[in-house]
Amino acid sequence: MKTIATPSVLNIKELLSRVGDDHELVIELFSIFKFEFPAYLQPLTDAVANELPRQVELESHALKGMLLNLAAARAAALAADLENLGRAQKIPGMREVLTEFQSEAQILLLQMESVEFQT
C-alpha cells in the first residue's frame, strides 16, 4: 500500500503508525469525526458566545483529545489554546481563537476528504 496524500494539517504518517498501518481504520476514524464534530463544535461555539469559560474549557478539552488522536496537531493546538483560556477564565481573545479553530477545522475536514489509499 502507498499513501498518495499526506496533508500538512493532518499527519497521516503518524496516524498510520499509531494504528498499525490500518487504512480501513483511518477511514473509519475520519467518518466518525465528520459525524461527531458538529455535535462538539456547537456547544463550544455557544459557550464562547455566552462567555462561559468553564464550558469552553470542557468542550475544547474534548475536541483536543479527539484531534490529538487523529494526529491533527494544528487544530488540536488551537483547541488547547481555547481550553487554557477557559481554564484561566480569560474571555477576551476566545472569539478570535474560536474563529481560527473553525477555519482550521474546515481545512482539516477537506483534507480528510482528500485522503485516499492506493494498493
Partner: protein, 322 residues
C-alpha cells in the same frame, strides 16, 4: 482477557477497541463513567479497565473511587487515559485509586505493555487469593474428609442454637459414631479405616440439605446440624441419614464392607439456658445409649436435661430406633 474501555470520545473509543481486539482482548466499550462502574462492580465483570479522565456524569478518577469503594471481591486494575500531563493531575489520578495512567494520544505498543503489567498484577493477585482460600479451607476443614473440623462445627452449632432461640425455630443435632470402627482399623488397617471415614463423610454430606451442616467431631464421630427441622421430621431425617451408611456396602480397596453407625439425636426449639457443651454432653449420652442398645440405631435425648447431665453414660434413652 476481558477489558473495559470507558471513553465518551467515539474516536478514542474506536481506536482503543480496535487496538485491543487485535491484541487478543475481549473488549467491552462504554461511553460514560456510570455504566463503567456498573460493569466493573459485577461479580464476573472485567478485571482490567481503561478509563478516560474526562467523561460525562462520572469522570475517570470518580470511577476509580467508586470501584475501590464497592468492589469487595477481585481486584480491578485501572488505567486512566488523559491528555492532562501535569504532575498534580497524575497525583490526583493515582490518588483516586487508579493503578496507572497513559497520556493521550497513546502509543499502542506502550498501551499493550502497560496492560501486560496489569495482567501480571492480576495474575499475582489471583495466586494470592487462591493461597489464602487454601489456607482458610485447611484451617476450617478436616484434611481427611474435607468436612468442617471440630472447631468450626461446634462454632456453627453455637450460632445455630442462638438463631433457633431468637427465631423460635426447631433445630436437630445429630451425633453419629461409626460402629466397630476400631475393629475395622485393627483388622483391615488404618488406610481402609480412612477410606471408610471418607465414604461415610461423603454419604452424610449427600444426605443433608444445602443449608444443613456436617462436621467431623472426633475420630469416627460426625456432628450434623439440621436447621429448621421440626419434631415430626427429625426422627425420619435421622433414620434416613443412618440408612445412607447401613443400606449400601462401603467399597474399599480391601473389598466391600458393611458399615453402620449409632446416632444420638437432640431436637428442640426450647433451648432453655443450656450451653453448647451441655447440649453436646446430652447428645453424646444419647449416642452412647444407642450403642448400648445394640448399635446401628438412633437414640433421642431426654427432655429433662438435668437427668442426662447426671448420667454421663446413660443406659436409658427416651426412645430408641429401630
Amino acid at each position: 482477557m476481558k477489558i473495559l474501555i470507558a471513553d465518551d470520545d467515539a474516536i478514542s473509543r474506536r481506536l482503543l477497541v480496535k487496538t485491543l481486539q487485535v491484541a487478543g482482548y475481549e473488549v467491552l466499550a462504554v461511553p460514560n463513567g456510570l455504566v463503567a462502574v456498573e460493569h466493573l462492580c459485577k461479580q464476573d465483570g472485567p478485571r482490567l479497565a481503561l478509563l478516560d479522565w474526562e467523561m460525562p456524569e462520572l469522570d475517570g478518577p470518580a470511577v476509580c473511587r467508586e470501584v475501590r469503594k464497592k468492589k469487595d471481591q477481585g481486584y480491578v486494575y485501572m488505567i486512566l487515559l488523559t491528555s492532562k500531563g501535569l504532575k498534580t493531575d497524575i497525583v490526583t489520578g493515582l490518588g483516586s485509586g487508579a493503578d496507572d495512567y497513559l497520556i493521550k494520544p497513546f502509543d499502542s505498543e506502550e498501551l499493550k505493555a502497560r496492560l501486560r503489567t496489569g495482567q501480571r498484577i492480576l495474575h499475582l493477585e489471583g495466586r494470592l487469593v487462591e493461597a489464602r482460600e487454601n489456607m482458610r479451607f485447611k484451617a476450617t476443614h478436616d484434611s481427611l474428609t474435607s468436612l468442617f473440623n471440630r472447631g468450626v462445627i461446634v462454632d456453627l452449632l453455637g450460632r445455630e442454637i442462638s438463631r433457633s432461640r431468637r427465631e423460635r425455630v426447631p433445630t436437630a443435632i445429630l451425633l453419629c459414631d461409626v460402629d466397630h470402627f476400631k475393629n475395622i482399623n485393627d483388622t483391615r488397617g488404618h488406610l481402609i479405616g480412612d477410606e471408610v471415614l471418607q465414604e461415610a463423610a461423603r454419604r452424610l454430606l449427600l444426605s443433608v440439605r444445602s443449608y444443613d451442616y456436617v462436621g467431623r467431631y472426633g475420630g469416627e464421630e460426625f456432628l450434623i446440624i439440621l436447621n429448621n427441622c421440626d419434631p415430626v421430621s427429625a426422627p425420619r431425617r435421622a433414620e434416613e441419614i443412618r440408612k445412607t451408611l447401613s443400606d449400601t456396602l462401603v467399597q474399599t480397596s480391601a473389598g466391600p464392607l458393611s458399615v453402620t453407625m449409632s446416632m444420638g439425636v437432640h431436637q428442640t426449639q426450647n433451648w432453655g439456658v443450656q450451653t453448647v457443651e451441655e447440649l453436646l454432653q446430652q447428645v453424646d449420652a444419647a449416642m452412647y445409649a444407642a450403642k448400648a442398645a445394640g448399635r446401628n440405631r438412633i437414640s433421642f435425648t431426654k427432655p429433662n436435661t438435668s437427668e442426662v447431665a447426671e448420667h454421663k453414660q446413660p443406659a436409658e434413652p427416651a426412645q430408641s430406633l429401630p
